[in-house]
Symmetry: none
Subunit: 189 residues, 2 copies
DNA sequence: AAAGAACTTAATACCTGGTACTAATAGCAG
DNA sequence: CTGCTATTAGTACCAGGTATTAAGTTCTTT
């Protein structure tokens, strides 16, 4: 039943992660050590007491409502030549990924690319009307995505074709062809 | 400062509902009564102590995470038949629109549709690999968007084609064809 | 085998945010 | 004034800890 300290602490961490509601007493039974040992372990691993853990879970729940405000999922613009080309950078953080596997959600990459394409247009009103997009590689928590947009064709009728390619390092992770409508008040973005 | 009992209890209930983390002590200050009075009030109203309230909020949260992260869908899922069809509703609010003209940003509609398409897939891992989308009408602040997703083709190779159409009332405002990858750990969403 | 270090357990005082219960007081109506 | 409700006070007790000091118990290393 009894496992060495290192192993016990690894298991402890896992156990608590998967059930934050468990008390020291239960843990001590589960690992067949004294309560004090569990507490030392928690200290070393910097795991807070059960009430704090519960509070943490609960408070995450509360912000969930406002979490996906989406308003600024767009990254930082680092270069912009209107009606020509633009570059933005987005660091993938916790709120951008599926909690289960830490892979960035599709609409995050889309949002970065779309926002960039729209920003590129030198006009008061610019709205996306159409987009063909491909996700070519997963993007993980902590990675930095650089999106590069270029105007391909400025049509006379108010439509502009913009291509966006997003990279993590050398690798292309996303690309899309956007048609942006400018000026008029029809169409959609 | 001091309000009659009935009124105080009504406010107490509201206060706690909107902030379940509040302690008796704070409440007693807020209502300028003693802690004991607050406790009598809670008794009468059958409101549990703060730790229980927090635990309750937290456990709701856990359920959600386990129940295949409905929370990760944007908008409210109102119907879901796995691997068949799904419907979600999203009310367009301030954070979804361009402040200049109160038109919903493209990636908001995309996010609703994309999330719905991904949620539809009856698998642990589901990631968008490709999407062709069209925005056919502007969506304005305050409008309610209903997205309807339907699985079109379940290919053998792990790819599934999903079509999503989003409506405001009778009008189609967005539609898209998504290719979702399931299972494996390649590709991207 | 003895010494030391690392690990484990024990014991005790104290903390927060309560419950449960008893009793005293305040404020007002009849 | 009596009676009633509402409020406040006080005490004992609880869970689930923290923090600290001290005492074993192993394991290793010389």
């Amino acid at each position: 039943m009894r496992v060495p300290k290192k192993e016990r602490q690894r298991l402890l961490q896992e156990t608590i992660e998967h059930n934050p509601f468990i008390k020291d007493e239960e843990l001590s039974k589960q690992f067949s050590v004294s309560i004090q040992t569990i507490r030392l372990d928690r200290m070393e691993l910097k795991i807070p007491e059960v009430r704090e853990r519960i509070k943490h879970v609960a408070s995450e729940h509360l912000d969930e409502v406002k979490s996906l405000s989406m308003s600024e999922v767009i990254g930082d613009m680092i270069d912009l030549k209107l009606d020509d080309s633009a570059i933005s950078v987005l660091d993938i953080e916790k709120e951008h990924v599926f909690s289960r596997n830490e892979i960035a959600r599709g609409h995050v990459l889309f949002a970065q690319a779309n926002s960039l394409a729209v920003a590129l247009i030198n006009d008061e009103l610019a709205l996306t009307t159409k987009a063909d997009i491909r996700f070519s590689r997963q993007v993980h928590l902590g990675e930095r995505v650089v999106a590069k947009a270029r105007v391909m064709k400025l049509r006379g009728d108010g439509r502009t074709d913009v291509t966006v390619e997003s990279y993590v390092g050398e690798e292309c992770v996303f690309d899309g062809d956007f048609t942006i409508y400018r000026r008029g008040e029809e169409e959609q973005a």
